[in-house]
Subunit: 123 residues, 2 copies
DNA sequence: AATGGTGTACTATGTATATAGTACTGAATA
DNA sequence: TATTCAGTACTATATACATAGTACACCATT
């Protein structure tokens, strides 16, 4: 995993975990890697992962049991919400950003289609 | 201007200036607000604006003259590039983010159209 | 009962960011 | 020439972030 240096690592890992939940890679009630294993895997300090897990727990996205481990929420409703909020955020951000740049709805769609077509030719 | 607390202020202001260039609000060779005026307007320390301007100058986006002021680049090519790079970044980020979430090109366009239509009904 | 893996907590250290305050340098102008 | 407005530079202080290292509390298993 690559980190940007203009954003706290623990926030990037929080988003990383939420993304994995949104894509279904992390499933309901699944056991997460331990604080120390995750730290080693991502090459960060275990305190940073501990902070990450504590923030995720505060938001009800995971729950931790001392001496046992950390687990993805048991609420399917929460999992759905994480996915849907993410999709809504991505689309609304996109629309807003392009409108600020002067794009109409029509042009926005056209440019998106052009981008998708051009990609195939290039790659 | 509102700042997010998870990203350095000076980086947010850099983006803010680049956006104004991209939209045409800041024009070629135009004089920027002074370090101290901009600081007062955005309610940050003047050192933060000085840092911002120095980064923008390092990238050739503005140039500063001691005792005179800071100015938008005289290069129209640079201005066009700032706008085009921004648009490309927004579109490619959007496409990538939605693909990660499992969206096909077709579904991506459909959801965008649905969002744009739904918006009109809601607002 | 002892061991090992778990989350958690704490101190210490270093870096980046932002502020406050001050002062210097250069250019335009009254 | 003196003043004013620019950018620039410096010290000091505070906070957030990340690391390193250590230790403790809890739970399951041997």
């Amino acid at each position: 995993m690559k980190f940007k240096d203009n954003m706290p690592i623990y926030l990037q890992i929080i988003d990383h975990v939420k993304l994995k939940i949104a894509t279904g890679e992390y499933k309901r009630a699944e056991k997460l890697e331990s604080v120390r294993d995750m730290a080693q895997k991502l090459r960060v300090n275990h305190n940073t992962i501990a902070k990450t897990y504590q923030f995720l727990e505060k938001d009800g996205i995971i729950f931790s049991k001392k001496g046992v481990g950390s687990f993805i929420t048991e609420s399917e409703e929460m999992i759905s919400r994480i996915r849907e909020e993410r999709i809504f955020f991505k689309i609304s951000t996109f629309v807003n950003d392009l409108r600020v740049l002067g794009y109409s709805d029509k042009k926005m769609i056209e440019e998106l289609e052009k981008f998708l077509k051009g990609e195939i030719q290039n790659g």
